[in-house]
């Protein structure tokens, strides 16, 4: 007993100087509590601030004209909004008459997003079901990690893969004269948005209580029947949210689409036609648009359109997810 007392006392005595120092630091840190709490509050609110700031600054660049002398901005209303939303002609640098119609760009975004979702949604949900229901333990972890790695590949690398690898492949297989087109961009986008669909889809399947599965199995249902008849209806909202998040990802993707879509402002007539999306237009033309000019402002306006579009998609996805959570709690 005695020896152990000595052994205990050793480190204690040694640490006493350190501990008193610790105590001073602790009391100082604790005294900072009001300051720290306010910093935490402010940081918490920062998300709102940033979302509002994004809208405000993009809006300001699109609409406010800051004159050299006056501090009060005047509104820029030169743009023909009817033409903006209804014209197919995107000719920002035309010498005769500049035209800013985003219909072709919207069609490009729509075509690429839709095609990529046609590929990504079945694959993504299928993989989510497989990972969530049909495999266990190590296999499950490995598959999840691989799909996570798929999400980690940077978009510019995806674009590079689209141009350098997939493009020649498409030319070889389909005989189309160009390899960068709607099909190429859609395949790339599908691979990029699949991880979101898989992870959110898997989460929503996991959120279905096990008692549902057990009840169905007790009634003699096979695993496939459990998935098809029980899990799909029960996780409907979560799966829908997964798809919507995938759509949001596809709409907002820039670099990959810029490189792989062919970048031609036209309404694509088929999978092998090149197209141009809203995001790619901004990325490609902002550098050349003279600051404060019409072209520059229209590009910011497209930014607002994109912001609103993805905001709506995310809002709907969020409401849908909240819907299931509320139901499960209630």
């Amino acid at each position: 007993m005695a020896s152990s007392n000595v052994a205990d006392a050793g480190p204690n005595r040694k640490g006493s100087a350190f501990q008193s120092f610790r105590q001073i630091v602790d009391s100082v840190v604790d005294a900072c509590e009001p300051i720290v709490e306010w910093m935490i509050r402010l940081s918490g609110w920062s998300a709102i601030v940033f979302v509002l700031a994004i809208f405000a600054f993009v809006f300001a660049q699109a609409f406010f004209v800051f004159e050299q002398d006056s501090m009060i901005p005047s509104l820029w209303m030169k743009l023909d909004f009817v033409e903006f939303f209804t014209s197919v002609k995107w000719r920002p640098t035309s010498v005769v008459r500049e035209q800013y119609g985003i219909v072709a760009l919207l069609a490009g975004t729509g075509a690429v997003t839709l095609t990529s979702m046609v590929i990504a949604v079945p694959l993504g949900l299928g993989a989510a079901v497989y990972v969530s229901e049909f495999c266990h333990g190590k296999t499950k972890e490995t598959l999840k990690i691989i799909i996570e790695l798929l999400a980690a590949i940077p978009s510019v690398v995806w674009g590079f893969i689209g141009v350098a690898v997939l493009g020649p492949l498409i030319i070889d297989i389909t005989g189309s004269p160009i390899g960068v087109n709607v099909l190429n961009a859609s395949l790339i986008l599908a691979l990029m948005s699949v991880p979101v669909i898989v992870s959110v889809g898997e989460d929503s399947l996991k959120a279905v209580p096990d008692s549902y599965r057990e009840a169905a199995e007790a009634l003699g249902a096979t695993k496939w029947e459990v998935v098809y008849r029980v899990l799909f209806p029960a996780a409907k909202n979560g799966l829908l949210a997964a798809v919507l998040l995938g759509v949001g990802r596809a709409i907002g993707e820039t670099m990959a689409v810029l490189m792989a879509s062919g970048h031609k402002a036209q309404i694509p007539g088929g999978l092998l036609d090149p197209a141009r999306t809203l995001t790619a237009t901004i990325a490609a033309e902002m550098g050349e648009a003279p600051r404060g000019g019409d072209h520059y402002r229209v590009l910011f306006l497209i930014g607002i359109v994109l912001f609103v579009l993805t905001f709506l998609v995310n809002l709907i996805a969020d409401v849908v997810v909240k819907g299931i959570k509320g139901k499960q709690n209630g």
Binding site: V157, L191, Y228, I282, L306, T310
Partner: protein
Amino acid sequence: MVHSAEVGVAGPNFQRFPTMEEAVSAVVGQGSVNGHQSHSNTLTSNGSFVIAHLSNEQSDTSQCRPRHRFYVDSHLLGSGGDGTERDPWPDVPTAAKHILSMAGDGTLNLRPNEQIVIESRKMFTATRLERKKMRKQSIAKGVFFCMTLSLVIPVFAILGYLFVQAWPALSWDFVTLNPKRMGTEGGIWAPLVGTFFLVLMSLLMAAPVGVMAGVYLNEYAKDNWFNRIINLAVVNLAGVPSIVHALFGLGAFVLAAGMGKSLLAASLTLSVMTLPVIITSTREALAAVPKSFREACWNMGATKWQTIRTIVLPNSISGILTGVILQVARAAGETAPIIFTGAAIFLPVKDNGVGYWLPYTLKSEVMALSMHLYTLREQINNAPLAMQYGTAVVLIGLVLSVNSVSIALRVYLRSRKKW
């Protein structure tokens, strides 16, 4: 009626009979073949009788297709049943009686090479319906497996292909030399350093704000409309397209704040963009700490901040780090937000001295690896292909290795979780 054909009982006691009646009688053991009586009156659990319509040349029933399948279950009492799997006959004589009567009214016409099988219903094994369901299930499983495979294979195929193509360019010089002649010669040192600076700067700005925001959302925020809006804002901030972040960075940092196209503006843009990653993962990490830990601490008189500092944060630090690392990977790979806010297509940089290690200042433009890849592929015509692939592989390698650290941390964390 089977008259001219020969009908036999299959199995080890295979015999030929001129008519079906005789064959059936033989099965039951009431006919002329007395020798089979003992074995034929009861069916063992997986035994079966076969009455087949054979030609003279055939010596076994292997060529025959079953036309009818009847079931017998000796565990059943009574004489009911219609011989189906669901409702079997109780014994072989009953089966024979029914088969004979069916043969009598012509519903049991055996054509050549067809047979009747009388089986004992198997206990505790799949019925036909169940077998069908299981088949369906294995098909479904196979389809899902193929879907998963079609996502996994491209990853390895693409990575492998890129690596093979990049092999000629990859060398120590490729990494440590500065690019020359717009990037068509030399290496990728300057863009690599630029990416490092961008990531470091954005991390320094995003990590404190993000972690504190996560603490606020999990520890301080009550469930009211204001905090629901904050949550919504976080979700939407994560969903805003990267190019819109670029426009924001251009409007706010480059123009309004007067930073110009610079390292500072670019990393601020990146930090706003990657903030939601840190917020969400911090929140999840904090939420994983059990409520009882906090309650125990409060009960000892600790304030909220003391509880967070001494109990909550130390117990969730690995989870928070995971999120921070993911932010690093994300920031390293992004291109769109830095195009207008600070990334340069090409910058002349020094090849030695301090300028080699610190080529940029906060106010100067930077080269970045992601932008460099875009430049080599799209902006310059004569960049050697191997260099393009090499840049892509280095970028992927960088991002994936950072990601693997995060994954390893998460796996380690889960293995030593104490609650």
